[in-house]
């Protein structure tokens, strides 16, 4: 525990800039994963416990696609689409069967997929840690803002997450598709009575959520080392994010993700061993004081 280091950092602009940018990219990744998790929960009422594994899959697919095509943007796109496709299979053939079943069975299906995907990654990509390295397009000198160093790729990550978030907000609140999705979340029976195919709405939301996780994995690939099981810690963190922001609320996921990201990056200077504890205490406080989360609706 070293609070003086934190105060020293807070008194220098360069340190603030560096730590904030680190916090923001962590927040961006968490937002993408948590947004998918919260959207799936909001519409389908199930929690995809294997969501973290989708993120891992995205990172590994991006790695292979980048090595094949040598284009990072193409690789990220392939990762998003690939994981989306995988989510479709997962939803149609496995998860759909347990929507109305006991939580126990939903949990077990996801548990099975976490185990299977972790081993599949080991079989396909090997047991060792893998890393993509910074793509050639981003190997440019970093930006200096107020004396702090910000790699160009960080800016790209933040803007990518920002753009995706903006598109999500627009589609969900301003378009017909968004209306249908919200209707299905609110009252699925009524929605299907109106002649809308809720089965495919569900599948669509699941695929979209999965694709977001895959994209997040692709964005994380250049800055994180990859290993089987890497999805699990991000699963827990994005769950904390959704609890803080409010389960089912995408804007809540954004607020929660940025909060956790910044707590992580500044906390790692001041009290590295207690960062996780602080996240949990924050979550416990929210659960006790406002169980619906900062921006969530009251539970019916």
């Amino acid at each position: 525990m070293d609070p003086t280091a934190l105060f020293e950092c807070l008194s220098s602009i360069s340190c603030i800039v560096t730590q904030t940018s680190t916090g923001l990219i962590v927040g961006a990744l968490l937002f993408l994963v948590a947004a998918g998790l919260t959207l799936i929960f909001g519409v389908l009422g199930v929690i995809n416990f294997s969501h973290g594994s989708f993120y891992m899959l995205g990172a590994y697919i991006a790695l292979s696609a980048y090595r094949l095509t040598d284009s990072y943007l193409l690789a990220a796109l392939i990762a998003g689409l690939g994981v989306g496709l995988f989510s479709l299979v997962f939803e149609r053939f496995f998860m759909r069967r347990v929507y109305n079943a006991d939580v126990l069975l939903q949990l077990l299906v996801c548990y099975a997929f976490i185990l299977i995907l972790d081993d599949a990654v080991k079989i396909i990509w090997g047991h060792e840690f893998q890393s993509m390295g910074m793509p050639a397009a981003f190997q440019t000198p970093p930006l200096f803002i107020g004396g702090g160093i910000v790699p160009v790729f960080y800016v790209f990550m933040m803007s990518a997450a920002g753009v995706i978030g903006a598109i999500m907000w627009y589609v969900l609140t301003r378009t017909r598709i968004g209306k249908i999705v919200r209707a299905a979340a609110h009252n699925p029976t009524m929605t299907s009575v109106l002649g809308l195919n809720t089965t495919w709405i569900y599948a669509g939301v699941f695929v979209f959520g999965g694709a977001l996780a895959g994209l997040a994995g692709a964005l994380a690939a250049p800055v994180r080392s990859m290993s089987a099981g890497m999805g699990f810690s991000i699963l827990i963190e994005s769950f904390i994010v959704t609890v803080i922001g409010g389960m089912g609320s995408v804007s809540g996921a954004l607020v929660g993700a940025l909060l956790i990201g910044l707590v992580r990056s500044f906390g790692s200077i001041g009290f590295p061993l207690f960062v996780e504890g602080i996240m949990f205490i924050a979550m416990a406080l929210i659960l006790v004081l406002k169980p619906s989360g900062l921006l969530g609706k009251e539970q019916r």
């Binding site: 069967r97 299906v109 099975a112 949990f280």
Partner: protein
């Protein structure tokens, strides 16, 4: 009257079970059977305690291993660093788990079911990372090394035969206690809360308190399972409180059957056999186990003891008709 006779029946079954277990070493004197039964006592208690929550309370915890690991570490540390005697250390471990269960349960049990699952999972990861990072106390990812002094007076639990007796007695006594608690008015209140929490509340039952008591009880018995495991391996490892352990426990009770009291123990035994076979045949343990889990969760959708009960019921119905 009725509860009294069922108590006597359970006592008879427990004694019969103990008699069978005591007889096993005479028929199969090798270490294999003894080791298996000792581990079964640990995992059987662990799974059955989880079933108090899942099967009887309708609360699907995905973080139950934190109490299994918590019990093992508390016991090991009390023996190793605290110099406590075996009974004191066991009591200490139970107390520790009760306290942990109280704190975590107080936050978790008020939540809706899927929230509850995720939150227990999250707290378990916190406990796991505390064990990993607090190296000076827990030995970090190496686990609690150096062995636990397993001797108390003339009771030498380092000897596999003594440990076998000890685990059997402890296991059967705890199972009997859990059965008695679940057949008591408290057990039936818990079932009522599971089936219809609103109605239970109207009847003046404090739902939150009933769930919390069940959570604490389950934590304590899981901790005793952890103590047996710590005695068996003479140490404690972070894997005891890792999420895969909780996943396995959930699978144990699903595979064994949640609607029969002894189901989780059957499931624990089956999973141990599966695990042994898988480890011997392939290095991809998760892949094989995952496929088995999918087969049970999507294919059979019920546990083994549920099958037996179904067959028994359909047979007796036929018998009644003819």
């Amino acid at each position: 009257m009725n509860t009294h006779s069922s108590f006597n029946k359970d006592l008879l079954i427990a004694l019969a079970g103990l008699a069978i277990l005591v007889a096993i070493p005479f028929f199969s004197p090798g270490r294999v059977a003894l080791d298996f039964v000792i581990r079964l006592a640990a995992f059987g208690l662990f799974a059955t305690s989880l079933n108090i929550l899942v099967g009887y309370g309708g609360m699907v915890s995905f973080g139950h291993a934190m109490f299994f690991g918590g019990g093992a570490y508390a016991f090991g540390l009390l023996m190793q660093k605290g110099g406590a005697s075996i009974p004191v250390a066991i009591l200490g471990a139970i107390l520790f788990c009760a306290l942990l269960g109280f704190v975590i349960g107080a936050i978790c049990v008020r939540l809706k079911e899927i929230y509850f699952s995720f939150l227990t999972l999250a707290f378990q990861m916190l406990i796991h990372s505390i064990i990993i990072t607090w190296t000076s106390l827990t030995g970090g990812d190496q686990g609690l090394m150096g062995g636990i002094p397993r001797v108390w007076g003339s009771l030498n639990l380092a000897d596999v035969h003594t440990l076998y007796w000890f685990s059997c007695v402890l296991g059967v006594v705890c199972l009997f206690l859990m059965r008695t608690i679940l057949q008591s008015p408290f057990g039936y209140t818990l079932r009522m809360v599971r089936d219809n929490a609103d109605r239970a509340q109207f009847l003046g039952i404090n739902v939150w308190r009933v769930r919390l008591y069940a959570f604490i009880l389950a934590s304590c018995f899981a901790g005793i399972g952890g103590v047996i495991m710590a005695l068996f391996v003479s140490g404690a490892y972070p894997e005891f409180s890792y999420w895969t352990m909780s996943g396995e426990a959930v699978f144990m009770i699903m595979m064994g059957g949640l609607h029969t009291f002894i189901g989780p123990v059957v499931g624990a035994g089956l999973l141990m056999v599966f695990n042994d076979i898988i480890t011997r045949t392939t290095e991809y343990h998760g892949l094989a186990l995952g496929i088995i889990v999918l087969f049970f969760a999507l294919g059979l959708k019920r546990g083994m003891t549920d099958f037996v009960v179904q067959i028994y019921q359909s047979l007796s119905r036929k018998g009644a008709r003819s």
